[in-house]
C-alpha cells in the first residue's frame, strides 16, 4: 500500500529537468551530492525491483551475499552518475578528474578519417565518454539511441545540450542502420550500447559470469557490413570526482562467412561479453542494468516471438515507469531535501510534530454512522499483518456498535496472490460480520489511489459524513491526501493509544518525510502551473 506514497507527475517535464539542472548547476556539486544520500536511501527502500536486480548482480560479481551497504553503494553510484550527467552534458568538465586509457585508439581512428563502431554498455557512464568526445572537437561522434523508449533522456539532452542532441541517431524504422552505415562511411565514430536486447532484435547466446545471456548482434554485424573496426569503450565511475575511461579495440575488421555467420557472430559476442565481464568485475557498482540480467535476457530467446516481444515490452514499460518516477521524483525530492537543509531540518520537524500530534490525539471512538472506510496494508505472505488486523478489528467493533454502519475495504493486489481488500473481507467474515455489510475496492495500489477510488464508491455527496480507519502513524498522511482530494473523513485510529516504540518513531519520521515531499511536489506543481500533474493528486 505505501509502496509509492504518491505518484507525483507521471512524466518528466521540461520544468522538472530545468529544476534538476538548476539544482545541479547552482547549488554546486558537493551540496547536490550530499542530497544523494537521502535519495539513495529512498530508492533503496521503495524500488524493490531494482534492489532485487542489484542483489542478483552483486551476488555474482562479489561472489558473496551482498549486504545492504553493498546495495546502497550500488544505487548511490548510479545516482551519482545521473547527477554528473548534468555536468557532462553542459560541458562542465572542470569538476572532474578524468583518466583516459587507450585514448590513442580513438585519436588514431579519427585521424584516419575512417569511421568505426564505438561499442559501450550500461556499465558506468556513457555520458562521461560522450563528454570527452565533445571536448575533442575534431573527433566526430554520433550516438545510436532509442529515443522512442527513452523520451525523457531525449528531452533532457535537448534541454541541456542541443548541439549534442543533433548527433543522435534514433533507433526505429528500417533506415536506422542504413543511417549508421552512412555515418561510418562519412568518418563518424558511432557509439552504441551492446548489452541489452530490444524487441524484435536478433541476438546470440553468450556466457557472462558463467551463465547464459543474450546479446544483440547488430553492432558486430554492422561493423562487418560497413567494413569498419569496433572499439570498446567503458566510462567507469571511481567515486568522488574520478572517472576512468577505457578504450580498446575489439576488432580491426569483422569478416563473416555467410554459412557460419551465426557462430561467428557468437564468437564476437563472446569476446564483447568477456571484456564486459572483466570491467564489471573491476567496477561492480557501475553495473546499471537493474533487473535480473541472466533471467530476463536468455529466456527472451527461448520463448516464442510474440511471447518475448510482449515480455520485453512489459519490461520496457517498467523501465519507463521507473525512469519517469526517477526524473520527476528525483527533481521534487531534491527540492524537498534542499528545503529541509535550508530550514536546518525545521520544516521536517514541523511536519513530524503535526504527524505525531494527529497520531496521538485522534480518537479511538466515533459517533458518525454511514460508511467506515478501511485502508489496506501490504499483506505478509498473503496474510493480514498486525497493523492491518488492528484496523479491521476497529472497523468490526464500529459496525457492531451501530447497525447503520457499513464497511468499505480498499486495497489492491500489492505483491501477494490476493488483494488486500479481499483478504480483509475474509478476515472480517471469519470474525462473524455479515457479508452484506462488506464492500471491497481492490484496484488501488497506494494510499492516494485508495482514497480516489473510495471517493468514487462513496459518491459525490460530500455532505454525508464517513469514517476513515487507519493506523495512528498513517492518519496524518491519509487526512492530508484526502483533503487534497476534496474529501473530509472523520478520522478513527485503529489502536487505542500511540505507543512510542522506536519502530513507531521511525514510521512517524518516514511519514513526515513523505509529507514533506508531497507538500513540496504539490507546491512545485502549482507554481509551475502543471495542471495535468496536479490533476493526479486532486
Amino acid at each position: 500500500m505505501s509502496r509509492q506514497w504518491v505518484q507525483l507527475p507521471e512524466r518528466g517535464s521540461v520544468w522538472t529537468l530545468r529544476l534538476i539542472r538548476w539544482i545541479a548547476l547552482h547549488i554546486g556539486r558537493p551540496a547536490s551530492r550530499a542530497l544523494l544520500y537521502p535519495i539513495t536511501l529512498y530508492f533503496l527502500m521503495t524500488a524493490g525491483e531494482a534492489r532485487r536486480g542489484s542483489r542478483l548482480f552483486l551476488r555474482q560479481a562479489l561472489k558473496r551475499e551482498p549486504s545492504w551497504r553493498d546495495q546502497f553503494r550500488h544505487i548511490h553510484c548510479f545516482a551519482a552518475t545521473i547527477l554528473d550527467r548534468v555536468y557532462f552534458l553542459t560541458g562542465r568538465l572542470e569538476h572532474f578528474e578524468i583518466e583516459v586509457f587507450g585514448g590513442q585508439w580513438i585519436l588514431d581512428q579519427a585521424a584516419s578519417g575512417r569511421g568505426c563502431i564505438l561499442l559501450g554498455s550500461h556499465l558506468g557512464s556513457f555520458e562521461a565518454l560522450r563528454a570527452i568526445g565533445l571536448n575533442l572537437k575534431h573527433v566526430p561522434i554520433r550516438i545510436l539511441m532509442n529515443t522512442r523508449h527513452n523520451p525523457l533522456m531525449t528531452r533532457l539532452l535537448d534541454a541541456l545540450n542541443p548541439a549534442l542532441a543533433q548527433t543522435i541517431i534514433p533507433v526505429g524504422g528500417p533506415e536506422t542502420l542504413l543511417k549508421v552505415q552512412e555515418s561510418v562511411e562519412q568518418g563518424y565514430l558511432v557509439g552504441a550500447l551492446g548489452d541489452r536486447v530490444v524487441p524484435g532484435e536478433k541476438a546470440v547466446h553468450c556466457r557472462f559470469f558463467g551463465q547464459d545471456i543474450a546479446l544483440p548482434i547488430a553492432p558486430i554485424l554492422l561493423a562487418a557490413l560497413a567494413g569498419c573496426p569496433v572499439i570498446l569503450c567503458f566510462g567507469l565511475y571511481r567515486g568522488g570526482n574520478r572517472y576512468q575511461l577505457y578504450f580498446e579495440p575489439l576488432a580491426e575488421q569483422v569478416v563473416l562467412d555467410r554459412r557460419h555467420r551465426q557462430e561467428q557472430l557468437g564468437v564476437w559476442g563472446q569476446r564483447y561479453a568477456d571484456r564486459l565481464e572483466h570491467y564489471a568485475r573491476d567496477a561492480p557498482y557501475n553495473w546499471f542494468n537493474f533487473y535480473d540480467y541472466w533471467q530476463e535476457t536468455p529466456s527472451l530467446l527461448i520463448k516464442s516471438k510474440e511471447g518475448w516481444v510482449r515480455k520485453i515490452q512489459k519490461m520496457q514499460r517498467r523501465f519507463a515507469r521507473q525512469r519517469a518516477m526517477g526524473w520527476d521524483g528525483l527533481g521534487t525530492l531534491l527540492l524537498s531535501n534542499i528545503l529541509l537543509l535550508a530550514t536546518l531540518g525545521l520544516s521536517g520537524l514541523w511536519l513530524f510534530r503535526q504527524v505525531w500530534r494527529i497520531a496521538r490525539d485522534t480518537p479511538f471512538q466515533v459517533v458518525e454512522s454511514g460508511w467506515v472506510v478501511v485502508l489496506g496494508v501490504r499483506l505478509q505472505g498473503d496474510q493480514v499483518s498486525s497493523d492491518y488486523a488492528c484496523r479491521l478489528e476497529r472497523a468490526a467493533a464500529l459496525c457492531r456498535a451501530d447497525s447503520q454502519r457499513r464497511i468499505l475495504l480498499v486495497g489492491g493486489q500489492t505483491g501477494g496472490s490476493v488483494s488486500e481488500a479481499e483478504r480483509g473481507r475474509q478476515f472480517l467474515i471469519k470474525k462473524g460480520l455479515p457479508i452484506d455489510l462488506l464492500s471491497i475496492e481492490d484496484q488501488s495500489l497506494h494510499t492516494l489511489d485508495n482514497l480516489r477510488r473510495a471517493r468514487q464508491v462513496l459518491g459525490e455527496d460530500r455532505t454525508q459524513s464517513w469514517v476513515l480507519v487507519t493506523s495512528r502513524y498513517h492518519l496524518a498522511r491519509s487526512e492530508i491526501l484526502a483533503r487534497g482530494l476534496g474529501l473530509h473523513p472523520v478520522l478513527c485510529a485503529a489502536e487505542e493509544h500511540l505507543h512510542l516504540a522506536p519502530l513507531v518513531l521511525w514510521r512517524l519520521a518516514l511519514e513526515a518525510g513523505y509529507l514533506h515531499w508531497y507538500k513540496v511536489g504539490r507546491a512545485w506543481a502549482l507554481w509551475t502551473g502543471r495542471h495535468r500533474s496536479l490533476a493526479r493528486i486532486t
Binding site: K179, V180, R258
Partner: protein
C-alpha cells in the same frame, strides 16, 4: 501462393530478398506484393534493411539513402521496393 501474381521484375527483387536475407522457409513467388516487409508481414528488421540496401547497391548500382520519409514508403512492400529500384537503377 499469393492471390496476386508478381511481375517479372518483382519476382527478381523477391529472389534477391530471399537470397540476401537467407529466408530459408520462404519462396520468392510466395511473397505477397502488397504485404509489409518490416515488423509485421515478413518481419524484417533494421539489419535486414541494411543488408538489403547493400545488395541493391551491388546489383543495381545505386545507393539507398537513409532519408526517413522516403524509406518508410520504399520499404513498405515488395511492390514499392521494386518500383523504387526500377526508377533508380543504373544497371
Amino acid at each position: 501462393m499469393s492471390l496476386e501474381a508478381l511481375s517479372p521484375f518483382e519476382l527478381e527483387v523477391a529472389r534477391l530478398l530471399v537470397e540476401t536475407l537467407h529466408l530459408e522457409d520462404i519462396k520468392p513467388e510466395d511473397i505477397a506484393p502488397e504485404e509489409p516487409l518490416f515488423n509485421e508481414g515478413l518481419g524484417l528488421d533494421s539489419i535486414d534493411a541494411l543488408e538489403l540496401a547493400l545488395a541493391i547497391s551491388k546489383n543495381y548500382g545505386f545507393q539507398m539513402r537513409s532519408d526517413e520519409q522516403q524509406n518508410q514508403r520504399v520499404f513498405a512492400s515488395l511492390r514499392a521496393l521494386s518500383a523504387h529500384i526500377a526508377e533508380h537503377r543504373v544497371h
